[in-house]
């Protein structure tokens, strides 16, 4: 058995790959649902209705998609330049924490507070990713492990902060941070739901990233650096500066993810602010084939799976982890599908 590179990737497979991935992962999920003793078809139906079956369901799905769009963009931006940012989870938390801390000192109308908090969160996320990327550029340290380890360090730091200097003195029970000030809370898009203005910000950033990639010098240079570092270096692309720029953009996006979640949904920071949005963002980016506009749709899909599975697992008594299994499986099948778009098999 041999593999031959095709001259042109098969367009049908490239476009259809996400759908194929999703279908296969849902089929396998069906098998696992059967293993749990639950009725498979009814469970599929339950997933769908929990995600889309009512106005509340749709707003929940959209709300859940917002942080995924940000972390998906963060991963897409980084991976396109072959910067392996697996630290979005930590960057998310540090962004949220920075926003909460800044909220203590900023007293201004929302039109100023909200952008200020977002910018501060972006800066915090940036710094967190710039450190590992700097270590890669200067010392040759692989950023995969360093960004991963930083996730754990940051989570511990957040725990320390909200039990200590950022503690909310009025909260009883589970420790949480000082609340985001009222002026920093994102307005709701739909009354009596959790859907907030962050959706607009997320879509806006997706379009912005798309424009950057398509039309700017930085976009071209970062792609070149990712595809061939020697070719880019020969052509005079400043590799170190470009990769650090990518780190700023990617880390910043992940930081904003955390701030927006705190400002829009929870209103404060706690250690369970993110059920793995950073890692799911990687899946979102791969399902979107690293395309910023595709990230919007991939995030919606992943959010639908999570929200739908949440509802389904409650009513069918299937463990909630079915959502994570389905989503991670979609990632693997997507990879395989993309491979067969680019290569043909020879027996």
């Amino acid at each position: 058995m041999r593999f031959e590179r095709r001259e042109q990737p098969v367009a049908a497979i490239t476009i259809g790959a996400p759908i194929l991935a999703v279908t296969i992962s849902l089929l396998v999920a069906g098998g696992l649902i059967a293993l749990a003793g639950a009725p498979v078809l009814a469970s599929y139906a339950s997933i769908f209705t929990s995600a889309f079956g009512s106005k509340l369901a749709i707003t929940e799905t959209l709300t859940r998609a917002i942080p995924l769009m940000f972390t998906g963009l963060a991963a897409a931006v980084a991976f396109r330049a072959k910067v392996w940012n697996i630290g979005a989870e930590g960057q998310l938390y540090i962004g949220a924490l920075a926003a909460a801390a800044a909220g203590l000192w900023i007293t201004a109308p929302p039109i100023i507070t909200i952008p200020a908090l977002i910018v501060i969160a972006a800066c915090a996320g940036m710094v967190l990713l710039v450190i590992p990327v700097f270590m890669r550029v200067r010392f040759g340290v692989d950023e995969v492990v360093t960004t991963l380890l930083l996730n754990f360090i940051v989570l511990l730091f957040v725990s320390l902060a909200i039990e200590g200097f950022l503690r909310d003195p009025l909260a009883f029970g589970w420790p949480q941070s000082v609340p985001i000030p009222e002026e920093g809370r994102l307005p709701k898009l739909v009354d009596r739901s959790r859907l907030h203005f962050g959706l607009v910000i997320a879509v806006g950033f997706a379009i912005l990233v798309y424009l950057i990639h398509r039309y700017t010098v930085f976009g071209l240079q970062s792609r070149a650096a990712g595809e061939s570092q020697s070719g880019a270096a020969f052509a005079g692309v400043p590799i170190a500066r470009t990769l650090l720029g990518v780190a700023c953009l990617s880390g910043g996006l992940a930081g904003v993810a955390g701030a927006v979640e705190a400002m829009g949904v929870k209103g404060f920071v706690s250690t369970d602010l993110s059920p793995g949005f950073g890692y799911s963002g990687i899946v979102v980016a791969m399902l979107a084939n690293l395309n910023p506009i595709g990230v919007i749709f991939a995030a919606l899909f992943v959010a639908a799976v999570f929200v739908g599975a949440d509802g389904m697992s409650r009513s069918m008594e299937v463990p909630t982890f079915i959502a994570d299994v389905t989503v991670s499986l979609a990632l693997l099948t997507m990879l395989i599908a993309l491979f067969f778009a680019a290569y043909r098999v020879r027996w």
Partner: protein
Amino acid sequence: MMQTPALVLKGISKKFGAITANADISISLQVGEVIALLGENGAGKTTLMNILFGHYMPDEGSVEIEGKPLVLGKPRNAIAMGVGMVHQHFSLAPNLTVLENIMTGTEPLFSLRSKTEAARAKLTKLADRFGLLVDPDAFVSDLSVGEQQRVEILKALFNDCRILILDEPTAVLTQPEAEQLFRLLRVMATEGLSIIFISHKLHEVMNGADRVVVLKGGRLVAERQTSATDKAELAELMVGHQVKRPTRSKTTPGPVVMKAKDVTLIQDGHKRLDNVNFELRENEVLSIIGVSGNGQAQLAQVLSGLVKPSSGTVEVLGELSNNLTPTELTERGVARIPEDRNTEGAIGALSLWQNAILQRIRDPRFSKRGIVRGQAAETYTQDIIRNFDVRGGTPQTEARLLSGGNLQKLILGRNLSENPRILIAAQPARGLDEGAIAEVHRRLLEVRAAGAGILLISEELEETMLLADRVQAIVNGCLSPPVATQTLDSRQLGFMMAGEWGGLEHAV
């Protein structure tokens, strides 16, 4: 009585996608014979040998070794039946020792202990017998290129090969080393080995082989006994028509445009460049000639702005250029053609227009305030495609879809359409077919006549004699004094490449 041939290839055919690499090739090799497989780049010689050794599976055809059929597709079978191969790009692991490289795969995979001492003894005996001296415990990364080739040959001998294939063996050797290699091959042949070597160098084929098989465009077009033919006939058979090589007109060199003074480069504790001095003038071609691995790649990197010298200075158009980036050099009119067009010269996944303007991205024609001017870039690229006859795509096509020759034309085009003052060309014709080579040479001479100074870094004697006004040889990072090419013949140039610089008339 007809002796069974050592090797018979019958009707070998192989296609890669739309490209026919081999078409119905049949060759036989007698015991103790040395044959040369001759053809220009892309003729299918390496593909054919890779099929014989088992790296590739042919679409059609069969192979017999001493009358017995060879199961194709796995090197293991070829090795078991006595075929050994010395690859053009060595199949060695640099971080392992010589002995480890040679022992790999020679013992049953799941035995409990490697019989290192027995292997070492066998290796030493072989090395002594054939005069291939090498330290079994040295790391391959510490060996010179010539020594590494010895290890490749010893690998084949260690596996008790009776048929030895060598793919362009003298590409990395000096003249004396090449002569020594062919003497060794003769000795092996008298001891009963049968040898095939691949070459595109006519003098080598005439001197080293009993018989020559000529491939062109994937087909076998001729076979000759070397005693019954000459270089002119072979050249014509190889290319199929008279290729008109450009001639160098007389020019008067102008002022100095680039100067290197005492440039030294130390990398990983090795001195790659050792007090390099040269001066390049307008209207001339200065060739730095040397066997690969003597510091040319590093010299090209220093001059291209990719690496800073450890000491010494480089001046471009009177300005100190040690710290200039590739972009700054390009802005000052320095054109660079890299040695490896696939890893440095172009980025395969990007389009032709993106590859054409990437090194000039800050030029106001191609970007404004950080935004790329795609339309202007595509028009610019369309002009290059037209003026330089780049075939295989439009400005939007991905670069990896272009053939080697067309990619090189694009690289030439993006440099030459800017009327450079200085052109640094590293191995510009490597891996191209005769037609493309002539085209590249013609363009270089045009640029010279237009007033530029060209620094040609080359491995090929003929190319240097044809294009260069003056030549300096590079050996172990040292440059010889410059010599006017019209005072030299090929043999003298060969000695220069081997490091013998005494008794030459210097041309400053």
